[in-house]
Amino acid sequence: MIRDITLGQYFPGESAIHRLDPRVKIIATLLFIIELFIVDNFIGFAIAAVYLGAVIAVSRVPLSFIVRGLKPVIIILLFTFALNIFMVDGQIIWQWKFLHITVEGVRLAVFMAIRIILLLIGSSMLTLCTRPLSLTDGIERLLSPFKKIGLPAHEIAMMMTIALRFIPTLLEETDKIMKAQQARGADFESGGLIQKAKALIPILVPLFVSAFRIAMDLAMAMESRCYRGGEHRTRMHEMKLKGMDWAAIAFLVVFLAMIIIESRIF
């Protein structure tokens, strides 16, 4: 049920990609996304796809698992595809009443679809191959230069860590409460909109109560271990770039260069 959502999920593994420094992975992902918006022809996408394919191959995350994560966004994908294909003016190849399809429209629709798919897969590779905790650690480190201008980097990272940590817990809790109310004869499927909304009350009230209880417990547990925020905290795992990270950076630079050269030529 609820647990089937795989978007943003971590896929446990020991591959080289999994073991890379999170900072490298975050920057690589950001650059990859920027690249996708710079690219303005299909050859550029081909280069990006090969790069992404290489990353997937090394990560050993099954392709079927990645594709499954795309399911929830298929609607958005189809919607933009339809919008593009019908809305662009140009050389008409098919027409029916006010609807028309143009060569430019098809090109743009396919172009955007590829861009969105690459974007989604590219960014999901980051979460699939990085433990949530090291992800937030990486973000904290990357944001720490901005502390000088008053950005609470540690607090932001801590909030993200906690949020990420408790998503599965809350999903589990929801699942449990739903089952418990179903066992008492609650019906979440039938009935109109108002009835369905009403049926949510027996789930939401206990869920909020649980969420607050969990939050209180956590706050208490953190305080009783003398947590006081970011100042002077040292960390258990110091982040240091290793040989593999440098190799990844080199790989990234080559990819960047290829995209830039390609966009100059074509």
Binding site: R3, F11, A186, D187
Partner: protein, 285 residues
């Protein structure tokens, strides 16, 4: 009413890296009037098994036959099944949500579509049955009650539906000794009053030995033993292998037996133990 579980297999997160075989070919049956105990180590699959009995989980394969109907088949009306089979979850107090205790207990009966009077009557009866004072608690918020009281209100919520089969998943977990005994006494009372099937999960071997007619032992999703408490607790090596202990009395008498004191094997209650030891002591003199 009877329940037959046949070759039940359940796999969580199928096709994911976290895939887990939670039930592996489990079969047992229960009949009217039986109080069935399910025991097993933490994570052995007890809660998973219970959720199959009223169709909250669907098995990978196998059958759950309730009153002659295989409820794992598609098209079986689940609301009907859940009317017949009342399931009290582990830590049920976390499902309370209404403003008052009476309203919360009425949630189940209301879902059954009963009349106002019938609901009011059942609510009163259920609250008293679980050992709470109706006048005192009915109009209070369930969130203001103590943990043990909340637990009772939650159990009342299921009892008020008058299910033909009452299933309780560790109803005494985390209660103080008095509340623990009270809840068990209440379960026994309800069971005797209705003469239906009651299924009880517990980690307390003494309770299981004392209350149950039949004991089902599972370990890592597999059925280890089924039988009367005597049959099950006499397989003590097998139980130890799956990390379960004998009831304290039995442990005591078995230790005495190992020391060469002649007693019957597998004594399950204190009274028998006392009379046997007294008999032995008389003979020794």
């Amino acid at each position: 009413m009877s329940i037959q579980v046949e070759n039940l297999v359940h796999i969580y997160d199928k096709g994911m890296p976290s895939e887990q075989l939670a039930l592996d070919n489990v079969s047992f049956e229960a009949e009217d009037g039986q109080l069935v105990g399910i025991i097993g180590h933490t994570g052995s699959g007890k809660s998973t098994l219970l959720q199959h009995l009223n169709g909250l989980l669907r098995p990978h394969s196998g059958k759950v036959i309730v009153g002659g109907v295989d409820i794992t088949q598609p098209g079986v009306p689940m609301v009907q099944i859940r009317k017949k089979i009342g399931l009290v979850f582990q830590y049920p107090e976390y499902q309370l949500f209404e403003e008052t205790v009476a309203k919360d207990v009425a949630f189940g009966p209301k879902n059954l579509g009963l009349s106002e009077e019938e609901i009011a009557e059942r609510v009163r009866e259920a609250i008293e049955l679980v050992g709470l004072d109706y006048e005192e608690v009915a109009e209070r918020s369930p969130f203001d009650l103590s943990g043990g009281q909340k637990r009772r209100v939650a159990i009342a919520g299921v009892v008020a539906m008058r299910p033909e089969v009452l299933i309780l998943d560790e109803p005494t977990a985390g209660l103080d000794p008095k509340a623990h005994q009270d809840v068990l006494k209440m379960v026994q009372e309800v069971h005797e009053r209705t003469g239906n099937i009651t299924i009880l999960v517990s980690h307390n071997m003494a309770d299981i030995a004392r209350l149950c007619d039949k004991v089902v032992v599972i370990d890592s999703g597999k059925l280890v033993a089924v039988g009367t408490p005597y049959e099950v607790f006499s397989q003590k090596d097998q139980l130890r292998e799956v990390g379960l202990e004998l009831p304290p009395v039995t442990q005591f008498t078995e230790t005495l037996r190992e020391k060469g004191i002649e007693l019957d094997s597998t004594i399950l209650d204190v009274d028998t133990a006392v009379s046997q030891i007294a008999k032995y002591l008389k003979k020794e003199k």
